[in-house]
Amino acid sequence: MSLKLTVNGEAREVDADPGTPLLWVLREDLGLTGTKFGCGRAACGACTVHLDGQAIRSCAYPVRQAAGRQVTTIEGLAESKVGQAVEQAWIELDVVQCGYCQPGQCMAAAYLLGQQPNPDDQDIDIAMRGNLCRCGTYSRIRAAIHRAAEILRG
């Protein structure tokens, strides 16, 4: 079935079973492999993307529900000021270790900062607890979100 969606500002058309999770359409049909598969049941956050500006878990989100809507993936994150600040902070603080979960962490962090420009540690914990990091970079994730908020304040 042919479906139309806008990905990182570009109109895209894909031919996929409408029940396919958005994640696999992004990765396999559109070649956007920055969004990661971690669990397949919205339990780890590695697949986090923005759908019409809202953070969702694309591994458990049927592509048909994304039809006609705006999808932003990690590849498009730097298009926004918040996204740039998040990437800059992540690199400044060397948050990453293996790095596999980090696109999802960055997408979740950008969504948080869009909602709440000056989050405290508790806000961060609540917003980010759905994003697992097996390498345990949590203290740097917290610090990087504070740093991104600082960058955005200018």
């Binding site: 492999t33 990661k36 397949g40 339990a43 590849e75 790095g99």
Partner: protein, 734 residues
């Protein structure tokens, strides 16, 4: 014990690990060769068939740790895989410093499979055991230094000046007296024709602008932008995706299957039996997943169908009442324990644990017309992988090419002696009869239920204290499975009934106690087991350091002072212990409801002490702060050391609070992150890291923060509640 058969798996026919005779003499190491594309390349010789495909065609290929292009780019080919531990950055720092490179122009690529990249600690190519930095530090310095001398020689000859008057800094060779200079790129071709210095001068510490500095990670930008390629991201034209339905029971086999519904699923190209189960090959992941769900398979579970971890635990405890194979005996612990009335016997249990790296396993295989294969995967063990792949295809290893990607976490899971996931992917490609490259992907459920776990251990401990409360007897009996049984490592790692990997951290108990006994009972089961970040230390750090505090409590002595007293022959233990205690404020009055626990543990040649502050919130431990002191010898990158300590503590805390794989009726009870939870950000403690400025022998860092953490938390709870933690993960505390 129930009749449990010897470990078998589809890859049980593991080839013997050959003695790889890699002469790491300077002469062979630093063999420079003529260049095709205008560059200087240094390294050891490798067979022409195994040239790294990751090096661009413009580069000269037969040898390499280091390549310098005419474009000034310095490419370091890192023989250790990057799985988060930061080795691409630290190795690049070392090479760049000796070379005098501009770090902004340094790139790092993963080494492909080749004997040239053998890890001297294993005598084959592999990343693990926290060995990367200390085993390659001198080798990488020499590679960089020789290249520097050749660039200088080329410049001196071009300018007709004395080489001694030339310097290499920031990627430029300068001759101050004549005012001439040239970039590395401009000199690369000429440098390649210079003879290789037999004894290149290694720089002194003061000449290293990068070593010891918190240089930014080279892999951060690509990983943050989603550009880094992991195994699961690797693509080739026409690539197909495979999923394998594996036996729900360890050691189980397919009895029969009906693949008609699976074959009728859209996009499915093949449904075939493989040694590990039934594979479904499709155009897309989701199609393969749907088709796999449509398979109807009858399994022969064998003895694995009866496994029950609760029952195994009971059997372990019973076995622990009997004397085991002796790993260590000082004095006469049995006699002291028999006569001393101030004694304590207890036990600690730890469960099977899955590594659960965030990136599930995957491996892409393209079979070649010559009978070999081109493989792309994320592996810690390219040496054994190459041999296992050759064995599976019945070809010589030179017909196997393996490229490594970034690894989305490893923790030991990507280092299987029998190359389980790689060999399986080969079987899938072979059985499918398809010409396309096929990437076999594991789902999270496949990963959690797929075995290769950290073994379950039962620790029986007995100890006694003297009239002053000081520890005078110690006996530790371990019961569990050997991770190396049935692998080529068994020959060297199991001696007289003792698995050396299982007693690391217990047989090496550093305390000056007159009577020490360490014994073990090895049991067998069809459950596959493997090294898991910090291996035996992950159990022994908990058992020994928690028991130590239990004995201190029995003796009425301070755990810090008793450790100091018994570590008087171990200055590096003492130094981190005292540093952590001082930084944490050991001995000061604590607010109500807060418990504080302290531990010290040596592993992988490094020394770590931790102090944990723990509270109880609704019967669950809440770790508020961990203060950690580490002595790993000279440090290449202190920020990476810090990151490994932070990460190691959180990794260990996952196991303390949550991690547990159990089996009932032969089935793994967990399947994904909802029932095999990992630590989340709201549970992550504040972590303070203090690095000892050390000139002692260099040690490892990737695993060393894991072993002491469980006991630090358990000791804090013991101090807070008066009750020991008898098993992990910690159950609700009343």
């Amino acid at each position: 014990m129930a009749p449990i058969p010897q470990l078998t798996s589809p890859d049980a026919a593991t080839p013997a690990v050959p003695e790889i005779r890699l002469e790491l003499s300077r002469r062979s190491l630093l063999r420079a060769v003529g260049l095709a594309g205008g560059g200087l390349l240094l390294g050891v010789r490798w067979p022409a068939q195994a040239q790294p495909t990751t090096v661009s065609a413009a580069a000269f290929a037969p040898n390499a740790f280091l390549r310098i292009g005419a474009d000034d780019v310095v490419t370091v080919i890192c023989k250790h895989d990057e799985m988060g531990q930061g080795v691409f950055t630290s190795i690049a720092q070392v090479v760049a410093d000796e070379l005098g490179a501009d770090f902004a122009k340094v790139r790092v690529l993963p080494a492909p499979a080749n004997h040239a990249y053998a890890n001297p600690a294993f005598k084959m190519q592999g990343t693990g055991g926290s060995t990367s930095t200390y085993t390659s530090y001198q080798q990488m310095r020499q590679a960089g230094a020789a290249a520097r001398e050749m660039l200088i020689a080329a410049a001196a000859s071009r300018w007709q000046v004395d080489a001694a008057g030339c310097t290499a800094e920031e990627g430029v060779i300068r001759h101050a007296a004549s005012g001439q200079n040239a970039s590395f790129g401009e000199l690369a071709l000429a440098a390649a024709k210079e003879s290789v210095p037999a004894e290149p001068r290694l720089k002194s510490k003061s000449e290293h602008p990068l070593i010891g500095k918190p240089v930014k990670r080279v892999d951060s930008p690509a990983k943050v932008k989603g550009e880094a390629i992991f195994s699961i991201d690797a693509q080739k034209p026409g690539m197909l995706i495979a999923l394998v339905a594996r036996s729900p029971h360890f050691g189980g086999k397919v009895q029969s299957f009906d693949g008609r519904r699976a074959r009728a699923t859209a996009g499915v190209k093949a449904v075939v039996e493989v040694p590990s189960g039934v594979a479904v090959v499709a155009e897309r992941f989701w199609q393969a997943r749907q088709a796999r769900a449509a398979l109807e398979i009858q399994w022969d579970g064998g003895d694995g169908a009866k496994l029950d971890t609760a029952e195994m635990r009971r059997q372990y405890a019973e076995l622990a009442t009997k004397k085991g194979s002796v790993a260590r005996k000082d004095g006469d612990p049995d006699a002291e324990l028999a006569k001393n009335p101030r004694r304590l016997s207890t036990s600690y249990d730890v469960p099977f644990l899955a590594h659960a790296p965030m990136e599930p396993l995957s491996c892409m295989v393209e079979l070649r017309a010559d009978g070999g294969a081109d493989i792309v995967t994320g592996s810690q063990f390219l040496g054994p992988d190459t041999l296992a792949a050759a064995w599976a295809l019945k070809v010589l290893p030179d017909k196997i090419s393996i490229e490594n990607t970034f690894l989305g976490g490893g923790f030991g899971r990507r280092a299987t002696p029998g190359a389980d996931f790689l060999v399986e992917a080969i079987h899938v490609a072979k059985a499918s009869g398809l010409k396309a490259p096929i990437k076999t992907i594991w789902t999270r459920e496949d990963d959690i239920r797929g075995g290769y776990y950290r073994p379950m251990w039962h620790n029986a401990l007995a100890g006694a204290v003297d009239a002053k409360g000081h520890i005078v007897a110690w006996r530790h009996r371990l019961v569990g499975q050997s991770i190396v049984a049935g692998t080529p490592f068994e020959l060297v790692m199991v001696r007289d009934g003792v698995d050396q990997t299982a007693v690391e951290g217990s047989a090496s108990l550093p305390y000056d106690i007159p009577n020490v006994g360490v014994e073990m009972h090895l049991v067998k089961s069809p459950i596959t087991t493997l090294w898991w970040r910090s291996v035996g230390h992950s159990n022994n750090g908990y058992a020994t350091e928690h028991f130590f505090d239990e004995l201190c409590r029995l003796g009425g002595v301070d755990p810090f002072e008793e450790r100091r007293r018994l570590l008087h022959k171990h200055p590096r233990h003492l130094r981190v212990l005292e540093l952590a205690a001082a930084k944490a404020g050991w001995g000061e009055a604590l607010p109500a409801g807060l418990g504080r626990g302290l531990t010290v543990h040596e592993s992988f040649k490094s020394f770590v002490a931790q102090v944990a502050d723990v509270r109880l919130v609704d019967g669950r431990p809440r770790v508020e702060r961990v203060v950690c002191a580490v002595d790993c010898g000279p440090v290449i990158n202190p920020d990476i050391v810090r990151a490994q300590i932070e990460g190691g503590i959180n990794f260990a805390l996952s196991a303390v609070l949550h991690g547990e794989i159990t089996l009932e009726d032969g089935r793994v009870q967990q399947s994904n992150f909802h029932d095999y939870p990992l630590l989340r950000i709201d549970e992550a403690p504040r972590i303070e890291v203090h690095i000892v400025d050390s000139t002692d022998e260099m040690g490892g860092i990737g695993e060393v923060a894991v072993p002491p953490l469980a006991a630090a938390v358990a000791n804090a709870l013991l101090a807070l509640t008066g009750k020991p933690v008898r098993r992990l993960p910690i159950q609700e505390i009343q």
